[in-house]
């Protein structure tokens, strides 16, 4: 198998390198990729959408359908992870023995035969494999996380004028919650952002995107033609396109954030939502 693989790889690589001889030279301004459509985007974006960041304008406006279905792909990936890991776990019974830790004193209580303590601020439920998080890491991350989230919101909101947008901001926002799960433990993160909330936010993000498109349809223009929003937003059609991009980017940000956290929670705990695999 290894030798067959090596032969396949070498032959394919040789063919590709042979084909690369016909490619345009690196950084050639007259290369085919830069000649037909992209000059239109670069020269007309400002007057057509009033968004200086061409990448954002192309992403959410000119190629709006593509991005909408990319968001749907991300949503389905989150749902697939949930179905693969979580659904089959439902049949597994909850462990008979539960552990609770008194937050102030650090005393751990073991409850057998399925007894529970009602949720309160005094006790937090922990796993059998629980180890106390390191104080320096815990404190450092607690200081860092709000700033990470603030930066994520800046990246989403400022996607029109600087590198950024829904995808990048959503990933940073998701990373901040994943950082919480790594530095504390998974239960802490799930307590902040529950599984149900993640599932709802995933769908809400896609819904905001598709809903904006459908709203344009209702306002008698094409699907995802944001200039239709001018009536609703009381601005001229070009500014409406810019605002429409922002609305859509917020939807993308929410969907990406929720999916990243959801996938992390499911994969890191193999669907158990407990510490470790």
């Amino acid at each position: 198998m290894k030798i067959i693989g090596l032969i396949i790889v070498v032959v394919t690589g040789a063919l590709l390198i042979y084909a690369a001889a016909d490619f345009p030279a690196w950084s050639d301004p007259a290369s085919p990729a830069s000649t037909y459509l992209s000059p239109h985007f670069i020269e007309k974006t400002m007057e057509e959408t009033s968004v200086p960041n061409i990448v954002t304008a192309v992403l959410a406006d000119y190629r709006g359908f593509d991005t909408m279905f990319e968001t749907t792909v991300i949503f389905s990936a989150g749902v697939v992870c949930f179905f693969l890991l979580r659904i089959s776990r439902r049949e597994e019974e909850e462990p008979e023995t539960r552990y609770y830790r008194h937050v102030l004193t650090g005393v751990t209580i073991q409850l057998k035969e399925g007894y529970k303590i009602p949720p309160s601020d005094d006790f937090e439920r922990i796993d059998a494999a629980w180890t106390p998080p390191d104080l320096i890491i815990k404190t450092g991350c607690r200081i860092l996380i709000p700033f990470v989230q603030l930066f994520a919101l800046y990246v989403i909101a400022h996607g029109h004028h600087s590198p950024g947008g829904g995808f990048q901001g959503g990933v940073i926002l998701g990373a901040s919650i994943i950082l919480l799960a790594i530095s504390h433990d998974l239960r802490t993160a799930v307590r902040r952002m529950s599984e149900k909330l993640m599932a709802i936010l995933c769908a809400v993000g896609v819904f905001i995107y598709a809903g904006t498109g459908a709203l344009c349809l209702l306002l008698k223009l094409n699907f995802l033609d944001y200039s239709a929003l001018a009536e609703v937003l009381h601005v001229d059609p070009i500014t409406a396109r810019s605002h429409g991009i922002l609305i859509v980017e917020i939807g993308v940000g929410i969907a990406v954030m929720a999916t990243m956290i959801w996938i992390y929670n499911n994969v890191s705990s193999a669907g158990r939502y407990r510490q470790g695999l």
Partner: protein
């Protein structure tokens, strides 16, 4: 000789991506461990992302964000040669995030396989399937 050097300088970036891509392809074909196959898939994907980003480069151009878009300095004549091609960036922007999401699905599948067969080695899994 100078001809050869100029060809190498103009094309070596493609060769690097092809090499990277073939490393990924080899890992996907020949590696026995499923996680290593997933790593190979990611290397393959990275090669394609690098390839696309390099397509967008133009000599002497800057990032595709218009300078002085709004405000008093706003000038409305924009020349396409001053900005790099935004299209590959758009495609790869979504591809990176979708890649992470599909990586999550791949890992979830690997976890399920491990739960069923207690191994991630392909030959051991196949042997177990044949026994049944």
């Amino acid at each position: 000789m100078t001809d050869l050097i100029s060809t190498v300088i103009a094309k070596y970036n493609y060769w690097i991506y092809i090499t990277l891509m073939m490393i990924g392809l080899y890992a996907m074909i020949a590696k026995n461990n499923l996680v290593k196959k997933i790593v190979g898939m990611n290397i393959f994907q990275t090669a394609i992302i690098l390839f696309y980003v390099s397509i967008g480069v133009k000599k002497g151009a800057t990032i595709p964000i218009l300078e002085h878009g709004h405000g008093p300095d706003a000038h409305h004549v924009v020349h396409a040669v001053d900005y790099i091609n935004p299209l590959p960036h758009v495609l790869m922007l979504t591809a990176i995030v979708v890649g992470v999401a599909t990586l999550g699905v791949a890992l979830a599948l690997a976890i399920r396989i491990y739960n069923n067969y207690n191994t991630l080695e392909e030959d051991e899994i196949l042997a177990q399937i044949r026994e049944k």
